[in-house]
Subunit: 444 residues, 2 copies
Amino acid sequence: MGPRPVAGPADGIEADYAELLVGDLHASLASPVSESMNFLNEIALRYPDAVSLAAGRPYEGYFDLDDLPRYLSLYRRHLAERLGGDEEGVRRTVLQYGRTKGVIHELVAEHLRLDEGIHADPQDLVVTVGCQEALYLTLRALRRDERDVLLAVAPSYVGVHGAAGLVDMTLVPVRGTADGIDLDDLVARIREIRARGLNPRACYVIPDFANPSGIRMSLETRRRLLRIAAEEDVLLLEDNPYGLFGDPDGPPTLKALDTAARVVYLGSFAKTGLPGARVGYVLAEQRVSDAHGSAGTLADQLAKVKSMLTVNTSPIAQAVIGGKLLAHGCSLREANVREIATYRANLTRMLDGLERRLGDVPGVSWNAPEGGFFLLLTVPFPAGDDLLEHCASTYQVLWTPVHHFYADTRPRNVMRLSFSHLRPEEIETGLDRLARFVRDQQQN
Amino acid sequence: MGPRPVAGPADGIEADYAELLVGDLHASLASPVSESMNFLNEIALRYPDAVSLAAGRPYEGYFDLDDLPRYLSLYRRHLAERLGGDEEGVRRTVLQYGRTKGVIHELVAEHLRLDEGIHADPQDLVVTVGCQEALYLTLRALRRDERDVLLAVAPSYVGVHGAAGLVDMTLVPVRGTADGIDLDDLVARIREIRARGLNPRACYVIPDFANPSGIRMSLETRRRLLRIAAEEDVLLLEDNPYGLFGDPDGPPTLKALDTAARVVYLGSFAKTGLPGARVGYVLAEQRVSDAHGSAGTLADQLAKVKSMLTVNTSPIAQAVIGGKLLAHGCSLREANVREIATYRANLTRMLDGLERRLGDVPGVSWNAPEGGFFLLLTVPFPAGDDLLEHCASTYQVLWTPVHHFYADTRPRNVMRLSFSHLRPEEIETGLDRLARFVRDQQQN
């Protein structure tokens, strides 16, 4: 902050304009993560006519603004019943300041039971401002000092790098594999961290259709991961925004398999509910104690952090999600029948389209996820931000350089392709343009 | 985290239950602030029949759930007009992921112009999850390392202690006075901080009807405060949740007087809009630069923090507040005509009621704010948590021990009384009980 002399009126207030230097602000603001998010948003704005194989947004085709009053009224009726007709209580619950942990916890617990086979005590849930706040609360609580370290599969969701950055928590990458995570590497990393006098607190994973890889972990990997967490005494942070968009007979969530309170489960309604509600949650049943004995559960501690961060999640927004849950008997799988079909059709179209256009190009390959929003395309050249810029301006198609998920700036030969929000014809056009770009690059 | 051996099935997963110690979690979780919030919430739950002179909630008498669809539909129509009838764009704006800085920024800027005489560039606004997130974003950005220090009038709103705790930012108290702040002490503290090699980044103030004191700063104090901020090169964080609930011909906000970008203005719609929307904002026009030159404004930096914390503020919740603004031509003073009258009548009733009941008791006095939600009552005994507990159980009336606003545990002879959410008869009953309690204590 350096004062800059400026000519101004005589009273002197104008004499010293406030100016700030990025270098005087928190380090997260100059980090590659922060630059990543900025760059990716900004390039989408600069090329509005480009087909975006970059944005991980849910499909908008079924959005209906008339759902809002309908959901609000369903929730209102439900609440009136629960409160024995106390209309003042209903008004207060939806419109006044409210419970820090949220007001739709029982409906969320019922959804978890129905759709995920997770038996949650509603008191162990904290309803949050999207899953990102849930992640922040968890990392803020677990990061006591500079010795506390987070592990995460590399490459990982940009948001986990972002939240870790806000609490100055070191993130140690664990090798990713075709099955999601290299468990030997995980154990080696944990022991290495401990050998350096540091505390490996938790490992962040997206077991179902990961962002960015699209990979779903096998049942065997899940079981081994839980065993390692118990043996090595770390928590698992399970993030599950895409699990419903796949085979319902797939492997259970880590949380459903967890019998030793090793898993903190991070939930999102952005993809299965409505992104505009910004409602997510965290299930944290872990027992916490202090010098006097029990201090409740980790959820109680996360609620304390939340009371200092956002106070509570908008009960109006919660009522919208509550109403959507009520409209479908608390099953989000049922609420998303059309969406699930759309995402699966898009995935098939992507895989077929890539095969048709790029199947014969040497050095080009891709993985074939069984659900979710994303896949990874490997190309025979480093696909970084400069090349994305070139591709956007010349070929009018966007994708995400995978280095953003490593929180660094080194281009790698991999790009993330998303297909969740596109119409069939947009996928075809996008792939046409992408294939032309890849072939042109490969010939250079 | 200590593993606890537990008998369980043979596969070993159950062998090591996760358990956590508060001492292994972030320090903010064991701080007096965190304990304060817990204690105050919990005592209100334990004595539901007590009259609460403690809760700082807005009056509920005018709450109407039918306002929600009405506000949503007003905002929807407004947006359709702005987007030239693009219904898909309207749906996307309200229901999809959205702009990090928010979507009602232009309406908020218009409200600031009309009600506060603040001329804000809408691009310098970040719409937040209540004012508490705005405070967190600002402190997170300004706190680079352990040398960065925040100043705040003592006693101060609990939430500023809470947000500072989350970013490990030291808060240095500045002496409060009957005019709000001891400016000589402010200068002395700033220089003392610098002399210790630390950086005084900002001073947090509520110039209008402060929480907890109810004090409104004079125009002269405001001008001197701005001059000091410029001369000593610190920012002022102006928090203004109650400014509208007072004489409209009172002194302007610091921000309206600020010609040197010294003020970061923190706004809340919890009291003037709807608490259940959880919408607030921060106006941060300060220029920021990096090695390459301009890096935009502080608002742009705060948006980066927000993208890692809550991504964006629910556009559905924003649409509710946007609709309320539209319903009243963007004037919240107009929207709150009934509320303003109610709060002023409550204030008068409190002051008269205290005079009638406690005017003759030695050692008992109170201040007489001209608006807002709170006043301070001085009593001839230390009024701490134990005494509150006794008062709640025996006299069925709640108040707030002022030590909570000092973020410590030392009882002082002062209690905060709030009167914002009470009906006239509740005020009378509450004061009857409080007067009995004070007289009984004073005779002991």
